[in-house]
Amino acid sequence: MAFLKFPYRAKNELEKGGRNQLPAMADENEPTQDCPNCHKSIPLSKLWAQDSVCACGYHFRMKARHRIGLLADEGTFCEAFSEIVSSDPLGFPDYRRKLSTVQSASGEREAVVCGRAKIGGHACYLFAMDPYFMMGSMGAAVGEKITRTFEAATAERLPVVGCALSGGARMQEGLISLMQMAKTCGALRRHSDAGLLYIALLSDPTTGGVTASFAMGGDIILAEPGATIGFAGTRVIEQTTHKALPKTFQKSEFLLEHGFVDAIVARSEQKAVIGKLLALHEEEDHEQIGV
């Protein structure tokens, strides 16, 4: 049973033999992924071709580099600060081993990928967090990379497009990861005070210390359809209040209704919408200002 209403709903496929039938083109040997919303299984190749969006409108999680490929103009992304990786400042049990496992499994060195790019022809700094790297959790390295991104953008007078996706602060780094909230907020505030634009794009999930810092600090905050966005986890709230929560709680649509995001933008529209917003906020020609 689909519980989320997306702008794009599945067509009535009853005439084609019912909704649970696999599409005819599916190769039996091809790996598939089940959609948690409409429960159809989708061949992976088809899912990738649709930028990890099911025909019912459900947005699957997406790797940071895949997302950058979707947003940045072809061949314009130039990665920065990739030399910064996590250490184990507290000597937390099992953390080093976990880091190396995740690094080899995800192919990323850290939970965020940052760099310079063009979107719709507009130069900007772009960062994207990776759901397959400890659910995008923010430790010292993530905080440092995002801070440097804002500082570089401030120095070069460029806007920042930040794709937030995170379970929150990385607890294995204790207070050092908590302090990254203040650090990133400080850097983005300085970027803002310099008169520059920051567009935050929130995807599933954006929670905890990331929601309570740079994710909610955007001049413009966009959200993907159906993403979970909130501060406290649903389970914690249910335990505290002893009440079951509606399935729409903390979804993008809930945040839009309560006034905390500017717009919900489907993945297929994101590049165009962000490009348009960048054009709207393009700095006037410096020479003109000088006159």
Binding site: G174, L188, A232
Partner: protein, 260 residues
């Protein structure tokens, strides 16, 4: 024999402990409470207002857990709603206007977890405090007097100086929360408390705070007197400090700064 980390956590949580208002009463006898966030409500988990400290006008923001069970329930056990953070921000934003330094007393297990708090933007309220406190052009001193629970505590601790009471704790997550997420067993909280490095001594070693306020020496009143003296001299010194905002930014900028 020194206490284990988890014993310190329990001590910090104890409902017999001095609360925010106890400190306010002793340090700022002429404190005048000012209510409301001017948007939605007044959150009793955060108390704010004006006072003088040795003749110097100051803005005081304190988290308050309450002593009696009725009082504790009314103050949601010191877990602030977004309205609390917005009230604190409103009062703190007035401080530079009237040339008053700010003293924050932090004591919370964390920001309140609830439907209303989420509906009204708990995350956004904390984020706004972090951004604004970084640029408020007046001295800010934050003292962790009991529990420093995650983002809910940090939202009043973006300051020029951060101190901790000897028996206070400051942590990214509760030891129980950490144990249940990492090891699927909240009973391992003792071990988690050790691993999280959440005591004042740990925070000092990791460069998170500047000073530990000892609670061993002297009587209760002597502690307050010592603290009053220390706050007054630190605020006076911070008032004269050139380039204060850049230093505040650099203070946080330096934490976790490394490239391997």
């Amino acid at each position: 024999m020194s206490k284990s980390a988890y014993e310190i956590v329990q001590q910090a949580r104890s409902n017999k402990r001095r609360t925010g208002l106890d400190f306010v009463e002793h340090l700022f006898p002429d404190f005048m409470e000012l209510h409301g966030d001017r948007r939605y409500a007044d959150d009793p988990a955060i108390v704010g207002g004006g006072a003088t400290l040795r003749g110097m006008p100051v803005t005081v923001i304190a988290m308050e857990k309450g002593h009696t069970s009725r009082e504790r329930a009314r103050r949601t056990f010191g877990a602030p709603h977004p309205e609390g953070y917005r009230k604190a921000l409103r009062l703190m934003q007035q401080a530079p206007k009237f040339h008053r330094p700010i003293v924050c007393l932090v004591d919370t297990s964390g920001a309140y977890c609830g439907v209303g708090a989420e509906e009204r933007g708990q995350g956004q309220a904390i984020a706004e405090n972090l951004m604004e406190m970084m640029t408020l052009d007046t001295p800010i001193l934050s003292i962790l007097i009991g529990e420093g629970g995650s983002g809910g505590a940090l939202a009043l601790a973006v300051a020029d100086r951060v101190w901790m009471l000897q028996s206070a704790v400051y942590s990214v997550i509760s030891p129980e929360g950490c144990a249940s997420i990492l090891w699927k067993d909240a009973k391992l909280a003792q071990r988690a408390a050790e691993c999280l490095k959440l005591t004042a001594q740990d925070a000092l070693q990791n460069g998170i705070i500047e000073e530990i306020i000892s609670e061993d020496e002297g009587t209760e009143n002597e502690l307050y007197a010592r603290l009053e003296e220390k706050i007054a001299s630190t605020l006076a010194q911070l008032k004269q400090e050139p380039d204060r905002l850049n230093k505040r930014y650099a203070r946080f900028r330096a934490i976790g700064q490394k490239a391997e």
